[in-house]
């Protein structure tokens, strides 16, 4: 267990994937800057990879005072074993007070392991963060199937770890030329038992709903696989992604990668259009935080209308094509 009294600083794990530092990193740097300032402490970013040293500039521009950078072949792409060993070694040496990362597949795969190795607590998939006067991180996350917001604390152990959902916070405006201290750290990847044989980019089959700004979703009201064409047309007109309720997925009308909700994807687009979806709590758990929600449903009492910014009571087979047409005419 790391001695609490020796810990200071806020760290953000910088996730580099597909040639870019992921947006969630910049969102966390913006929030991390706030938390570090409240604590009168430094904000650091931790970057792992191969040949990425020049990427540190982006992290400084977005608020980092320090960048810890580890360069090793084993760190070139996400490898749970290697990343766990490397981050653990850094945490044990430099002792941050707070350690944040994105609630991405990588983040959710290795943050829990780091937490056990350094013997501390982790709040997963958070949507809100604050720090109190005593330096206790208040990590807010949806719990009980999205029914409540729980505030999780880790009073005794350090660092206080949290993984955070994409788009929970807004990125700041980068300050070009802002600099900081680059600390190159030795590779400490430990014994790597997992061997990555092949990485297959498969964006044709993968709908990155989490990143979409606009999502048009269809539910049981769509009535069949062919009618999903209406949803696709509207989504295409809006340059958005296609989502679905579980009922539509279970009916076999659309593949499960499109499912939004508790057992599907969690999304937070600027615009979410729910067509023929009743608004069950498990669906709301996945999309209730969307910035602007439009619901189209013929049942005026459907619960989806309770959270819709615009609720259209009507037949989706008339309204959805009319919307697509009205957008074409705009």
């Amino acid at each position: 267990m790391i001695d609490k009294s020796q810990c200071s600083g806020v760290w953000v794990f910088a996730e580099y994937r597909n040639g870019v530092i992921q947006d969630v990193t910049f969102e966390l740097l913006a929030k991390g800057r706030e938390l570090a300032d409240k604590r009168g402490a430094k904000l650091a970013a931790v970057l792992f990879g191969q040949g990425l040293k020049d990427k540190a500039a982006d992290l400084f521009a977005n608020g980092a005072d320090i960048v810890y950078y580890a360069d090793a072949p084993a760190l070139a792409t996400f490898n749970g074993d290697a990343y766990t060993a490397q981050l653990t070694a850094l945490v044990q040496q430099y002792k941050p007070e707070i350690l944040l990362g994105g609630s991405t597949i990588a983040g959710r795969s290795f943050f829990p392991r780091v937490a056990v190795r350094v013997d501390t607590g982790l709040a997963s998939d958070c949507t809100g963060l604050d720090v109190d006067a005593a330096g206790i991180l208040q990590a807010v996350r949806p719990a009980y199937a999205g029914n409540v917001l729980a505030t999780i604390v880790c009073p005794e152990h350090r660092p206080q770890m949290a993984s955070v959902r994409a788009k929970a916070f807004k990125k700041g405006a980068p300050v070009a030329g802002r600099t900081g201290e680059l600390i190159e750290v030795p590779a400490a990847t430990g014994e790597v038992k997992t061997q990555i044989l092949e990485t297959v980019r498969d964006t044709g089959n993968v709908v990155n709903l989490a990143d979409a700004d606009i999502i048009v979703s269809g539910g049981r009201g769509i009535g069949g696989p062919d009618q999903f064409g209406f949803i696709q047309d509207l989504a295409a007109e809006l340059k958005g992604a296609v989502g679905a309720s579980r009922a539509a997925v279970d009916a076999g009308w659309i593949s499960s990668v499109h499912q939004v909700g508790q057992t599907g994807k969690t999304v937070k687009p600027k615009l979410y259009i729910a067509c023929g979806i009743s608004g069950a709590i498990q669906h709301l758990a996945g999309m209730g935080a969307s910035d602007f929600i439009i619901a189209i449903n013929k049942d005026a009492a459907a619960p989806i209308f309770e959270i819709a910014d615009i609720g259209i009571v009507g037949d989706l087979f008339a309204v959805v094509p009319a919307l697509t047409q009205a957008l074409k005419n705009r």
């Binding site: 997963s124 999780i152 152990h157 038992k193 990555i196 044989l197 498969d202 990155n208 959270i307 615009i310």
Partner: protein
């Protein structure tokens, strides 16, 4: 080959109530079932059992009624079940849950592979699988969508946001799986009858060699400081959709005004 599957009993729906006197929130569940992704974990193990003659043991930590999910799993074809239950485990966070499960797996002694669901429906942390791997000191791949056993080692496909990766790893290991991996089977009638008779005596903290203060609420690394209702927005407008073209124009005007399109 001995495979352990960790399954949790979760409510299929949850009602949130605010106590008018204290303003405290209570969440009560109903219609308990196996956590959906744990059904996929069990199915993945049963598929390996069918092809590679593995023994499958299901494990759950929970209160008395949680034994139901073990019986369900036995009915589907699991060979053995461990019901881990002790008041000392109440209030465990993901860290403590991982620790208890790891102790139970270590006690079994001959386990080669642990399969968990990627996350639970209620706790929803996706932490327990990777945590317990760490307590065991075993490699772990989370969010797996395909598992193959080849020459005593694993080849798996791990999902990531823009595709998937093929990963090789040795046994023993811990994997977590999502619903992409398979479609769970139903329990057979014969299996269900046999499962009814299974003896599921609770395994306690003492039996696992865990001091009560190292698990449960006392041992947990995190605490629940507060619970609040999810702020839901209101004040939306309703549009009559009986004339679709008029409704569509109203909506598009509004979207343009808000610069959403």
């Amino acid at each position: 080959m001995h495979i352990v599957v960790c399954i949790k009993q979760v409510p299929s729906s949850i009602a949130v109530k605010t106590d008018p006197a204290t303003q405290a929130l209570t969440c009560t569940g109903s219609d308990y079932l196996i956590n959906p992704f744990d059904e996929n974990a069990l199915e993945a193990a049963l598929v390996l059992k069918d092809s590679d003659k593995a023994k499958v043991t299901v494990l759950t930590i929970g209160a008395a009624q949680a034994a139901d999910v073990l019986r369900e799993a036995l009915g589907r074809g699991a060979d053995a079940a461990q019901f881990i239950s002790d008041a000392a485990f109440d209030g465990s966070d993901a860290w403590a849950t991982g620790k208890i499960l790891a102790a139970a797996i270590q006690k079994l002694g001959d386990v080669n592979l642990v399969i968990c669901g990627k996350q639970t429906f209620d706790g929803d942390t996706a932490q327990v699988g990777p945590s317990l791997a760490e307590f065991l000191g075993w490699p772990c791949v989370a969010f797996v969508r395909k598992i193959a056993l080849e020459a005593g080692a694993l080849k798996v496909e791990r999902m990531y946001e823009e595709g998937f990766e093929k990963i090789a790893l040795p046994l023993p290991a811990v994997l977590t799986v999502g619903k992409e991996i398979n479609t769970p089977r139903m329990a057979s009638l014969k299996g269900r009858m046999a499962a009814k008779k299974a003896q599921l005596a609770p395994i306690t903290a003492a039996a696992l060699g865990l001091a009560p203060e190292t698990v449960g609420a006392q041992g947990a690394r995190t605490r629940l400081a507060k619970m609040a209702p999810v702020p839901r927005k209101s004040g939306g407008i309703k549009v009559d959709g009986s004339d679709a073209a008029v409704a569509a124009k109203t909506v598009v005007d509004k979207l343009r005004e808000m610069k959403l399109v």
